[in-house]
C-alpha cells in the first residue's frame, strides 16, 4: 500500500514542481520593477546602520524581528512546559575538556565581534546569538548540566530580555510620540545596537536552554565555575 502511495505522491509533487518552475521562469525572466531594493537602499543613511540587511531587519521591518524573537521564546516556553530537563551527559574526557576550554571563549569573542560588525557588514544579533548558543551546546556536551546557563530564575530574565528590550523601546518611542518602533534619526544607531546586544544574549540563552531540552534543574553543577558567565556579565 505504501509503495504506490509514495509513487503517487512523487508524481503529484513532480507535477507541482514543473508548474512552479514554469511560474518562476516566467516571473524571473519578465523584467519586473525594482521591487523594494532601490527604496531600501536610498533610505539607508537615515536608518542608523550602514548595512542594508540589518537596516531592514532592525528598522524598516523591526516588527517582524520582534515577533521572530517572540517565536523563539514561544518555542523555549513550549519545551520548558514539557517537563524537567533530561539528565545531562557525563563529564567530558580530557580531549573534549581541553577543546571546550578553548572553543567556548573563542566562540564568545567572535560572537561579540559579529554583533559589532553587524552595523556595517553582514552580521548582527542572530549570527552572534547562534554562536553563543553553540558555545552552550558544547558545554552541555562537555557534561555541564545547564549548558553554562545560570539558575532558572536568571535564565527566565535572560530569555525574556531580547523581546522585553525591543517591546519596551518600541512602547517608549510610541509614548514619546515618534510612533511604535519609529527610531529618531539621531538615536537610531544606538537604539539598534542596544536591541541587538539584548537580542544576542536572549538568542544565545534560548538556543542553549532549548538544547538542554526541559526546565532547568534546581542544583548548580559540581564542576569548575565556567568562565563564560562572568566574562560576559
Amino acid at each position: 500500500m505504501n509503495r504506490d502511495l509514495s509513487l503517487l505522491i512523487g508524481i503529484l509533487v513532480s507535477l507541482f514542481a514543473v508548474l512552479l518552475l514554469w511560474i518562476v521562469y516566467i516571473t524571473l525572466s519578465a523584467e519586473t520593477g525594482p521591487r523594494l531594493a532601490t527604496l531600501a537602499l536610498e533610505q539607508l543613511p537615515e536608518s542608523g546602520v550602514s548595512h542594508p540587511v540589518t537596516a531592514v531587519l532592525l528598522n524598516y521591518r523591526a516588527y517582524d524581528t520582534l515577533l521572530e524573537l517572540a517565536v523563539l521564546l514561544a518555542a523555549l516556553l513550549g519545551i520548558w512546559s514539557l517537563g524537567p530537563a533530561p539528565a545531562g551527559f557525563q563529564l567530558a574526557g580530557p580531549a573534549l575538556a581541553v577543546m571546550a576550554r578553548w572553543i567556548v571563549p573563542l566562540a564568545i569573542l567572535t560572537g561579540g565581534y559579529l554583533l559589532w560588525v553587524g552595523g556595517h557588514a553582514p552580521g548582527g544579533a542572530f549570527q552572534a546569538g547562534a554562536l553563543l548558543g553553540s558555545a552552550g551546546v558544547i558545554l552541555r556536551l562537555a557534561g555541564h548540566p545547564r549548558a553554562g546557563l545560570p539558575s532558572e530564575e536568571a535564565q527566565r530574565w535572560l530569555v525574556v530580555a531580547g523581546v522585553g528590550v525591543f517591546v519596551l523601546i518600541g512602547l517608549l518611542l510610541a509614548a514619546l510620540g515618534y510612533g511604535f518602533l519609529t527610531y529618531p534619526k539621531a538615536g537610531a544607531k544606538w537604539l539598534i545596537l542596544l536591541i541587538e546586544t539584548a537580542a544576542t544574549l536572549a538568542i544565545g540563552a534560548t538556543l542553549a536552554a532549548a538544547y538542554v531540552g526541559g526546565r532547568p534543574l534546581g542544583a548548580a553543577p559540581p564542576s569548575t565555575p565556567t568562565p563564560t558567565e562572568d566574562a560576559r556579565a
Binding site: 514542481a17 524571473l28 531594493a37
Partner: protein
Amino acid sequence: MSPAFLYGGAGILLFALGLWSFLVHEPLLRKLIGFNIMGSGVFHLFIAIAHRGDGLPPDPVPHALVLTGIVVAVSATALALALNSRLEAADANASASAHQTHGRGADEHADDAKRRRWPTR
C-alpha cells in the same frame, strides 16, 4: 537561463524534494529534515528573487526575510524535537513498566504501550 532562474529553480526542486520526503517518510526525524529542506528551498527562491543583475547590490528585504525564516524554522524544529523526545521517553518507560508487570513478548508490549492511556491529570 539567467543565474537567478537557475538558483530559483534549484530552490523549487529542493522544496519539492523536501515535500516528498516530508509526506512519505514515517519516522519524525526524516520528516523534520524534509521540512528543513523545504524551508531552505523557499529561502533559495527568496535569494534568487533578491538578485538584481550582476552589477547592482542585491535587494536587502528578501535577505532579511530569509534570516527571519531561518530563525522561525529553527525554533519550530526545536519544539518538534523536544515533543518527539518526550514521546519516545514516554514509550520507553511505558514498555519498560509493561515488561515487568506482564512479562509477555517484547513486541506485544510495544503495541500495548502505544495504546495504553497515559494517566491524565
